[in-house]
Symmetry: D2
Subunit: 469 residues, 4 copies
C-alpha cells in the first residue's frame, strides 16, 4: 500500500549526485530525482556547481511543483547533488528542505543526506559549546560544522575526520565548487550506488535513478567508503572496515522501487522470494491469492507461485487519491478506505482469500480491508505478511512511529488477528526473511524485528528534525 | 498505459447524480467524482439544489484542486449532479467546465454531459436563427436551449422533446431545483447506471462510483430511457426503443475502471477474456508474458492463462509522473519514456517476450517500449494487442485523434510491426473481441474498427468544444 | 477615503474599447484598463478581435493578477474591448466577470457594460418565455439576447432596437469580429468618451484612460448616441434625444479620477469648487483645514482657499493596506482605522480643525476618525462634507447600500453629528453642489439626495448580479 | 515618488520588537510591521517566544501575503521580533528573509537587523578560519556567530562584546526564549525608538509603528545603547559613547514615514522646512508649485509657503500600479511614466511651474516627468530638489546604486539640467539641509553628499547580501 494510507513505515529521503563535465547536470539530476520520488514527497532540491560557485534551488512539494524548465535552465554547471525528502504530517517545514549549502573556510559546501545519526545530540552540544550556531537540528548541519572545524588538508581529509566522529546511518552526497564526494556509513545501513554515463559518474540512493537517465550501473558504494569525484576522475578512500554489515532489510520489503538492485539483490526478485517462502512457512487452504496493491503485489505473486493458488486482482486502487484529501464527515467514516480501494465482487464473492501484504505497522488499514472484502462476499480471509512482526522502533532513518503505535510490540499474533478481523494471520519468520539472501543474510540490520541495534543510540534516539512552526 | 503517455484514445467525461433527502449530497458527489476521475482530469464541478435554488462550483484541475472542505460544506441541498472532464492539451478552458447552470422559463436548470452529439451544428444554426445566443459550443448549451424552447408541460416532457431532436451519443444528468433527470441515448453509446443508498437514488457513468460511496447497484439505465427522480420517487420514461444497441466497446478495452460493471459485464473479466482469446488467436513462442502497465495488465494476465506462459512484471512504472512534466532537452530525447517506464533487466535479459497492450493508436510509444526492452536484453519481442486495429475516428465522444494519426488507418499490420520494431505483431480480431460478450456482442458500436457508423454524422463530425484562447 | 474603508458608495465598473488597425490593441487595452482600475478591482477582462474571430481573457483580481505579458502577446487583433468590475464582499464570482462573449446568428459578439438597467427583470421574464436561457443575471446577458432576437439588417440596427427596449443607466462597448460599437444611455447617467491615437479611435469610461495611452481626447459620447467603428471609420447614430440629461453627479464628488474630464468638466476642478462653496456655505472658526486622505483632499484644498484657513496634512495614510486584511481581535478593535490612518500629533495638538471629506454614507468611519483626532490632541473638530446628505439608494449603477445603512435616510443632521462625535457637522447644499456646474447643473441626476428618480425602477430595483456560490 | 519608480535610494529594512506578557504579541507585531511596510516590501517575518522556545514564520512578499489569521493565531508567546526587508530586483531570495533564528550554546536566539556592517568581510573570514559555517552572507549571521563565540556571562554581556567587534550601521532586535534586546550602533546611523503599551515595552524603527498599535512614544534608543527587556523590566547598558553622532539624514529627506518622529524631529515638519529653505535658496519666477507625488509633496508645500506661489496638484498618480508590472513594448516606451503619473492639462496649460521633488539619483524619471509636463502645456519648468546632489554611494545600509549611476557624481548641475530638460534646476545646499535641525545638524552623516564617511569601510563596502539563484 502507498504512503497516503498511513500505516506504513516512512522513508527518510533519497539522494543523487552527478559529476558530468559537458552535460546538463541540472536536468539529469531532475530526472534522477524523479526516479527517487517514492523515497520522499515532502520537499525536493538540488545544488549545482560550475567550478566557481554553488547555486541552490529547493522547495516544498513534489519535484514538478518545485522545479520547472526555467529553473532547470538557470542552474548551470558540471556537477550537482539533489535530494528528495519524506512526507509526514506536521513537522514539514521549508527550513528542513535539502540540500543545505554553506559558506565556510574552504569556500562553499552543499550536502544532501539520507539516514539518521545516533549521536547528533552529543555532537551538537559539543559544537555549541565551542560557539557553533544552528539554524536547524538536522544531522546535515552537524556534519557540515564537523567538516568545517576539522583541520584536514583538504575536503576529503576533513570528511574522513568527520566520519570518525559521527555514528549511525548515513548515505551522503557532498558538493564543493569543483568536487563531489559520496560517503556511506560503515554499516551500510542505507543504500548508495555508482553508475557511469559516458565520462560522467553518477551516484544515487537506488539504481532505478541510474536506469532512468540511461546511466550504466557500476557498483554499490561500499560501507565505510568515501568516493571522490573531480578532475582527477574517481577516487576511493576506505575509511572504515567491518566484518559484517547492517543493511536495512526494509528497503527490500517495502521502501525501494521494485526495479532497483541494492547490494547485489534485485528488489522485485527478493519480494517474490519472500512470497514464495511465506507460502511455504504459512500455507492456507484458499481459492485465490489477493495482493494489497501496490506494495503487496510481488510477494502475492510469489505466494501464488509457491502455493499454486491462482493470483487474482480483486482490490481496485484509485490512482488519483493524492496528498490533499478531504476527510469523510462523521457519518461517512467507512468511506475512507473505500475511496482508495474498491473490492471487485465478481472476483471475491464466495471465495476463500489469501490476502498478502508486505508488512503491518498499526493494523488499522488491514482491518478496514478485511471488512471491505467480507462485505464484497469473501468467505474466508487469510492475512499473510511477507515480513516478521515489527516490535521495535528504528533509529537509523526510518519513521516506524513510536513503540506504542507498533501493534506487534504490544500484542500477540492472535490478538492482532482478532484486531484485523482476519480468519487466520501469519507473518514470515526472520529466518525466512534473511534466507532470501542466502549467506549474505547476516549482513542485515534486524533491529525493528528483534531489538538488536547494531549501533548504540544517543539518549534513546533523536526525532530527526527540528520542528519549526 | 496511462493518459499522460499520449498514445491513447481520450475519455470524454464522467457524470454523477444523486437525489438524497437527508444526505450530505455534495460530499457524496465529491466522492463519486473521485471514483470517476479516470474519465476526466481537466476540470471538475458540481451543482447542488435544495428545492429552491441551484448552487454551482467548478474549476480547472483534479477534484482535490477544485474542491476543498469549505466549498463542500457550503454546497447545501438534497440533490446534486457532478462532472469530470477529459484532459487534453490546448483546448482546455474554464468556460467549457461542467456542469452548466442556466436560468430559463421554468427556473434554474443544470446539466452534465458525457458523449457527443452528431447534429450539433445544424441544431445550433437553427437555434441561432431563432435568436439564441451561446457562450460555448458545447453540446450541453444546445441541449438546454432545446429544452427551454420546447413547449412541454413539464421538464420531463421538454426533455423528451429534446431527445427526439438530438442525435449521437449522450449520457446526461439534469438538475432542476427539486428534480433530477438522467437520460441515455437510444443507442446506449456511453454507459450510465443506477444505484441506491438507503432511500437515496444515485446515477453514475460507472458502477465503481456507486461502490465508492457504498451504494448498491440497481441496474443500467436503458438506452432511450429517461429516469426522473423527485419527491414522487423514481419514474422511468422509455422515449425511444431499438432492437440492437451500439455500446462503446472501448469502455471495456481501455476506458472504464476494471472494477466497474457495465451493461452486465465486469470490465476486468472482459479484459482477461480478451487476453485469453488473444492467446488463442495469436500465439507466440515465448518465455514470459509482459504487460504494458497499467492498462495492459488484465489482458496480459488472460494471455498468460490462455497460453500457459508465465506472466512477469518487467516494466516498472513511475507513479509520480504527473501532468506537469518538463520535457527532456534535445540530446536527452530518449529519456522520455524511460522516466515513465523502467525495464527490469533481471526479468528481461535473454528472454523471448510477449508484450501485451490493450490498443495501439499512433504506435510511437509502443516503438519506444520495444527499444527499451531490447536494450534491457530481451531476445525477442512479440507485441500483442487485445483489440483490433483502429482504422476510423470516433464521433460519439472519444477523441481518437484524426484519421491521419491512426497508424492502422494508413499502414498494413506488417508496416506497423516494422514501425514499432517488434519481431511479430498481432491484433485481436473483431470477432474475437465481440465474442467475449457472447450473443450480446451484436449490441456494440464497432465504427472505429470497421467504419460502420450507427448514427450519421453532421458535416463530418464536430470537434466537440469551442476553443477559446 | 479609499474603497477598503468600507464607508463609500461603490463603483460599478469601467469600460474601454479601441479600433486600431496596426496597433497592439491588447496592450493598449491593458494600459487603458490600468487607468480605470479605480472603477473596479474585483475582476478584469478583455476581448480582442482580428476580423475573423474574438478571443477572450478574463479573471478575478486586479489587472496585473489577471494579465501577464504572455497573455497579452497571445491576444492578437486590431480591435478590442475591456472591462474592470467593482469590488465587493461575497457576491464576487468568476461567472460575473466581463466582457461576455457569445455566438449568435450573426457570428460572435462581445459586451462590456457599466451601469444598471431598471427593467431587467421584465425583459428577462419576457425573453425566458420565448425560450431564452441565461447563465448569469447580468444586464449584459439580457442585452445580448435582445440584440440576437432583433430582426435588424445589421448589428447597428439590432443595437438601436435594443436601446429602445432597455431602460436605465448604461455605457456599453460591443465587439463584433470587425466592428466596435459604443453606446451611452439617453440620460447619460454613466460617463463615456472618445479619443484618437493616430488613426485609431478609443472609447473609455474616463478621459484619464485616453491620457494614459497617449490618445487625444475628442469628445464625450452623447447621451442616446451609438458610435460605430469599423473599416468605414467612425459613424454616429443618435437613437434617442432628450432635453435634459441625468448625469451621475457622484462621479465628480467621489468616483472618477481627479485628472479626468467628464462632460466638459475637470473632476479635480469641480472638487475644489465644491470645497470653496462648502467654505462659503458652512464656515468654521478653526486653525487648520484637514483633508481625509485621499478622497477629501481636493475639496479640503478648496475649503482652505475659500476660507483662508491653512491646509495641513495631519492624517497619514498607510498605502500598503490592501484587500487582504487581517482583522484585529476582540480587544484590539480600535486598531482598525489606526492601521490605515495615523494622526500627526505635531500638526493637531491644541488645534481647532475643519475635517473635510467628500461624503458620508454610514458615518462609522467618520466617527472613528473624529476619535483619533481627539486623542491626538485636536481641540475642536468641525466635520464638513462636500456633498449633500445621501438619503436614497441608487438604482443606476452605484452600490450605495440599502436605505437602512444610509445614516442620512434615518437621522437628522444633529443626530449624525452626535453619532460621529464632531463638534459641528455641515453638508454642502444640493444647490451649492449643482452650482459648481453653472447652467449645466440641471443635467444631473440627484436621486440619491432628493429621491427624484429620472427613470422608473422595475419592481423596486434589482440588485444587479446573480450571486452564485 | 514611490519605490517602483526606480530612481530612488532604497530602504534597507525595518525592525520591530515587543515584550508584552498577557498580550497577543504576534498580532501586535503584525500591525507594527504593517506600519513599517514602506521600509521593505520584499520579505517579512516574525519570531515569537513564550519563555521556552522560539517559533518563526517568514516569507517573501508583502505582509498580508506572508501572514494570515491562522498563522498569527498559531504564533503564541509574550515576546516577539519582526522584520520587513527591502525590495530589489534579482538578489531577492527566501534565504535572506529575516528574522533569522538559531540554536546555540545558550539555547535559541533570533535576530532582525536594519543597517549594514562595514567590517563584515574581515569578521566572516576570521570566523570561518575558526570553523564557522554560514548559510547566508547577511550581517546577521556574522553577528550571531560573534555572540555565540563570545564568552560572556549572559546574553547581554555577549552582545556587548559583539558590539565592540562590529563596525558600521545597525539597529538590531534580538530575541531569546524569555528576553528581548535592542541595540543601536554608536553613531546612531539608523533610527530606533521605544514605546510603551500598558506594561508592555515596544521597540521599532519608526514611531509610526508605535502609534499604529496605540503605544505611547517613550524615547529614541541612544546611539551605543543596549536595551534589555525581560521579567526584570527594562534595563539599559551604554556600551559606547561618542561626542557627535552620524544619523542618516535621508530618513528625513525621503525614507521615513511623514508621521514619524526620529531623534526628536517630526519628519513631515522637517520636509516642509526643507521646502521653505529651498524657496529661499533657489527662488523661481513661476505661477504654480507642483509636487512630484507622493514624496515631493511636503517639500512642495514648504516651497509654496516660502515663496508665496500657490501649490497645485497637477500630476495624478495611479495608485494601483504595483510590483508586477508589464513593460510597454518597443513602440510604447513613453507609456511607462504615463501609466504612473498623468499630468492634468487644466492645471498646467500655459503655466510656469516649479516642480519640487525630494532627491534625484539617476535623473531619468525626472526627465520623463519634465517631458510629460511640457506636452501638457507647461510653459516653463523649474526643477527644485529638497536635498543636495548625491555624489557618493552609501555603505551604511542604503542602496544608492553604485557611483556610476549617480548622475551628480558624474555631471555638473548644468549638465543635469540639460539631461532632464528642465528650464532651470537647483538643489538645496548641504548647509540648508542641516540648518533645518538647528544646532543638532552636526549629528548627521553627510557621506552621500560630501564623501566624509564617518566609519571606514572594509574593502570598499560589501554588497550586503549573498545572492543565491
Amino acid at each position: 500500500m502507498e504512503l497516503h494510507i498511513e500505516d506504513r513505515p516512512r522513508h527518510y529521503c533519497g539522494v543523487f549526485g552527478i559529476y558530468g563535465p559537458g552535460l546538463d547536470v541540472a536536468r539529469l539530476t531532475f530526472y534522477g530525482l524523479y526516479a527517487l520520488q517514492h523515497r520522499g514527497q515532502e520537499s525536493a532540491g538540488m545544488a549545482v556547481a560550475d567550478g566557481w560557485r554553488i547555486e541552490l534551488h529547493k522547495g516544498m512539494g513534489l519535484i514538478p511543483e518545485v522545479f520547472n524548465d526555467r529553473v532547470i535552465n538557470d542552474l548551470r554547471g558540471h556537477l550537482a547533488i539533489g535530494h528528495v525528502r519524506y512526507s509526514t504530517t506536521g513537522a514539514s517545514h521549508p527550513i528542513n528542505a535539502q540540500p543545505l549549502v554553506f559558506h565556510y573556510g574552504r569556500g562553499q559546501i552543499g550536502l544532501a543526506h539520507n539516514g539518521n545519526l545516533t549521536n547528533t545530540e552529543s555532537l551538537r552540544r559539543q559544537l555549541a559549546a565551542e560557539g557553533a550556531v544552528f539554524q536547524t537540528t538536522t544531522d546535515s548541519e552537524v556534519i557540515v560544522n564537523l567538516i568545517a572545524r576539522s583541520g584536514g588538508r583538504d575536503l576529503e581529509e576533513a570528511l574522513a575526520h568527520c566520519v570518525r566522529e559521527i555514528r549511525g546511518a548515513y548515505s551522503l552526497v557532498i558538493l564543493a565548487e569543483n568536487q563531489l564526494l559520496a560517503v556511506r556509513d560503515p554499516y551500510g545501513f542505507r543504500p548508495l550506488c555508482l553508475g557511469e554515463l559516458g565520462n560522467a559518474v553518477v551516484v544515487a540512493s537506488e539504481s532505478c535513478a541510474l536506469d532512468t537517465i540511461g546511466a550504466r550501473f557500476l557498483r554499490d558504494v561500499a560501507p565505510g567508503e568515501i568516493v571522490v569525484l573531480d578532475r582527477n576522475g574517481m577516487n576511493s578512500i576506505q575509511v572504515a572496515r567491518r566484518e559484517h554489515w547492517a543493511h536495512c532489510v526494509f528497503e527490500y520489503i517495502y521502501f525501494a522501487r521494485a526495479d532497483s538492485c541494492i547490494d547485489g539483490f534485485n528488489v522485485n526478485r527478493v519480494r517474490r522470494k519472500l512470497g514464495e517462502q511465506l507460502a511455504r512457512e504459512c500455507p492456507a487452504d484458499a481459492d485465490i491469492v489477493l495482493p494489497v496493491p501496490d506494495s503487496g503485489t510481488p510477494a502475492a505473486r510469489g505466494y501464488a507461485d509457491g502455493s499454486g493458488i491462482p493470483l487474482e486482482e480483486g482490490l481496485m486502487k484509485n490512482r488519483y487519491i493524492g496528498r490533499t484529501f478531504i476527510q469523510p464527515s462523521q457519518n461517512q467514516r467507512e468511506l475512507g478506505v473505500r475511496l482508495k480501494l474498491n473490492p471487485i465482487r465478481e472476483v471475491l464473492a464466495g471465495k476463500r482469500v489469501v490476502l498478502v501484504d508486505d508488512s503491518l505497522v498499526r493494523g488499522t488499514t488491514s482491518g478496514k480491508i478485511v471488512r471491505l472484502l467480507r462485505e464484497a462476499g469473501a468467505r474466508e480471509i487469510h492475512l499473510r505478511l511477507s515480513s516478521p512482526p515489527i516490535t521495535h522502533p528504528c533509529y537509523y532513518g526510518i519513521d516506524t512511529s513510536n513503540r506504542k503505535e507498533l501493534i506487534a510490540a504490544e500484542k500477540e499474533v492472535e490478538e492482532i488477528r482478532e484486531f484485523t478481523g482476519a480468519d487466520t494471520l501469519a507473518y514470515l519468520s526472520l529466518e525466512g526473511l534473511l534466507g532470501a539472501f542466502g549467506d549474505y543474510g547476516r549482513n542485515f540490520c534486524t533491529a525493528c524485528f528483534d531489538g538488536r541495534y547494531p549501533v548504540p543510540v544517543d539518549g534513546g534516539g533523536s526525532c530527526a528534525v527540528f520542528k519549526y512552526k
